[in-house]
Symmetry: C2
Subunit: 131 residues, 2 copies
DNA sequence: TCTATTGTATTAGTTATATAGTACACTATT
DNA sequence: AATAGTGTACTATATAACTAATACAATAGA
């Protein structure tokens, strides 16, 4: 379970802070597949925001295939690797790598530098080879 | 010289499209260090936008240390690698790699997958080892 | 110094974003 | 079917982002 926190002074919208914390929670293993997230009302009360703000975060996460919502039942963590078909997963990978390369090259970083930097990081969030 | 183009239907703000095209132009070698960019008025007329929109793009690029503006004289391409001190350059590299890893890990991609994908790209924009 | 050319600053209006208030709709349980 | 729980939809409002109109300021060259 995550201890949600919002920082009003950060300049980052509330709904985006919620998204980030859930995504980080999943990536770092604090959320298990199938686990139920707080209800929109519960989290809204907890964070002292409107339930629509929480709903907005959940909706975006559902579009990203990260969580599953069922009206009348609740919101649950989805299994990313199961839910996203392999082809779509490949496209996503290519997409974020493309974006990364565009940004990096505009700063004059070569591919070699990028890979060197990546290799310095040990562990990261999930080093498991999955499957 | 770049053939600037704006797409009003893209949803991307004009000033950001200008920024992207200049950055890409530099990364792909279409702009040489010291070369003068179009004046804010010239580019504004060319793109049929207000000169402030061009000015905004130039200002942001100057903050990023990518171009240099001199009131009364013009705007010029700066030498990124010369202008940005090595420590700052390292910080930038670490920053964008961190962001990349955060996004990637939240989608369940392992570091190995990322490096594999990076290695598939030959050339990219600038493969020169610079200096 | 005058003038043309350059970027800058101030102001305003339109549009998009973020959040909230409230009513609605679906689901499960009794 | 009644009810209590869930997410959803609609509407409103405040704020920020974007673009523009216009006036100002610095530079270079005649």
């Amino acid at each position: 379970m995550i201890d949600f926190k919002l920082d009003p002074k950060s300049g980052v919208p509330f709904y985006r802070q919620i998204i980030d914390q859930i995504r980080y929670g999943i990536a770092s293993g604090n959320f298990k597949v199938g686990e139920q997230l707080p209800t929109v009302r519960a989290l809204a009360v907890d964070l002292k925001v409107n339930l629509n703000t929480v709903s907005k975060a959940y909706k975006e996460l559902e579009i990203q295939n990260i969580i599953e919502t069922q009206q009348g039942t609740g919101t649950f963590i989805g299994d990313i690797k199961l839910m996203i078909p392999e082809t779509e997963r490949r496209n996503k990978l290519e997409g974020i790598v493309n974006e990364f390369l565009t940004i990096a090259s505009s700063y004059g970083f070569s591919k070699i530098e990028l890979i060197e930097e990546l290799n310095k990081r040990n562990g990261g969030s999930n080093e498991k080879s999955n499957k």
